[in-house]
Structures are given as C-alpha cells and as structure tokens.
Symmetry: C2
Subunit: 112 residues, 2 copies
DNA sequence: GTTTTATACATAAGAAAATTATGTATATAT
DNA sequence: ATATATACATAATTTTCTTATGTATAAAAC
C-alpha cells in the first residue's frame, strides 16, 4: 500500500467502470466498493472522490439523482449516454496502459 | 496515446527498471529506449525526466558519471546499492498495482 | 551552404490530480 | 456517553507532470 501514487490518473476510469457495472452508485458506496474489490489496497479519499464526481457530472458523463434515506441524503450517480461511450474509451486506454506497463517492467510476462 | 496521464507516478519505477536491466544509461538514451520499448506509446519529456533523475540522485538511488563524447557531454546514471533495493521494492509495488487495476477494470481477466 | 532534425543537457511557469485537513450532520455500536 | 460509521463537501497544500524556453553540438536533407 505504499503504491498509492501509482493510482494517480486512474480515478475517473475506476469510477466510470464501477458505474458501468453497477448502474447507479453514490459516493460513499464507491469508496467502500473499491476498498472491498481491492482488498483494502486502494482507499479512495473523499478529497479526491467528490471533486472527481462533480467534474464528471459537469462534463456531462454522469447524471445525478438525490435520494433521501432516513434523514440522510445520498447522491446517486449514473452514466449518461455520453458517459457510456467515454467509459468504453477510457477502459480501452487503461488496457493499453496496463499492457504497456507490464511489458516495460516485466518483459518476460508480456509475451506478444 | 490519449492515456499519457495514466503514467503519472510511474516514471521513477520505469527509470529504475531500465537501469536495472541496462546497467548504465544517460538521459537522452532513456527517452529513446522507452519510446522504442513502448512502440511510441509513451514519450518521456525532458521536463519530466531530468528533474526525476536529479531527484533519484539526490535520494542516493543513482550515481552519476560524466562522459565526453566528441564535443558533447553525457551523464551516465547507474543504480547505487540502495538504488537496487529500492528498484526491487518499486517493481513489486508496480506488479501489485497492475494486478489490482486489472482486477478492477476487467475482473474476467484476472482470475485469482 | 543553409536549414532542419537529432543529440544532449537544463530549468521555469503553469496545470492536473491527488493528499491532508477541516467542516457539517445523522445513525449505529460500544 | 462516546466512538465509529455513514454521507456529503471544500480549501490549502503537495506531487508530478506538461509546455515552453534556453544552450549547444552533430548530422542529414535540400
């Protein structure tokens, strides 16, 4: 977990991917899901998450819907049509990146 | 190549890995080697590279040796002992990161 | 022969994306 | 009663990069 800085630049892609899989999610839910999926290796901080969600919304990639649960509010985000397309792009870029990086740091394991 | 920002945070690791493999290299050579290894996908800019090399040197991970080739100077960098250890650490962190990220963006392809 | 491209270093200004710190408020568990 | 969890948010700062600029030599192209 000393490798947090490697995740820099990948937050948007992670959020978009989660929303592609889970249809709609709220911020806190995203932090918990990421912690669960990565077995605690990646902890998304609120200072990173909320500004990122706001930006994705401002860019038209996400729609937001406010819900009240008990006495607390939740903001559910979901992909717009444009967001779905951008998700596909970003996932492709991510795959390319992972392949390239794997090849750079461990040429033996990337046979192609 | 619209995914340059994904590489943020990985420059040090890339440099160290190259020096582990190639024993000693100079800055310009590193930029060319990376371009070659990634088939042009990653282009390390001088504005990123030189400060990074200086930092690694200041941190005691690299030793530098100045060579004169014709009328031009080259600064050859190589790993110190401490640099070799740190390289191993960073490569391990990178593998962990790549595995986690693969699992996040494509659960189907990361079967473990 | 002169202009462009390549080689080789470097730094400064600015932008992007995070961390860290702080704030508000409700709900649950100890 | 107090601590932890849920749920949002923003501001200050830091890290890491891009872009722009600078110096200088060598080779290739025209």
């Amino acid at each position: 977990m000393g490798n947090q800085k490697l995740y820099k630049g990948s937050l948007q892609t992670i959020i978009l991917k989660l929303l592609e899989t889970n249809d709609k999610m709220y911020g806190y839910e995203i932090t918990q899901k990421v912690k669960e999926l990565t077995k605690g290796e990646l902890k998304i901080t609120e200072g990173a998450l909320y500004p990122a969600l706001h930006k994705l919304e401002a860019d038209g990639l996400l729609d937001v819907e406010i819900a009240k649960v008990g006495n607390r509010l939740r903001k559910y985000y979901k992909l717009t049509e444009s967001g779905s397309k951008e998700t596909a792009n970003k996932l492709e870029e991510m795959q390319e990146f992972l392949k390239t990086m794997q090849h750079l740091v461990n040429p033996k394991l990337s046979l192609e």
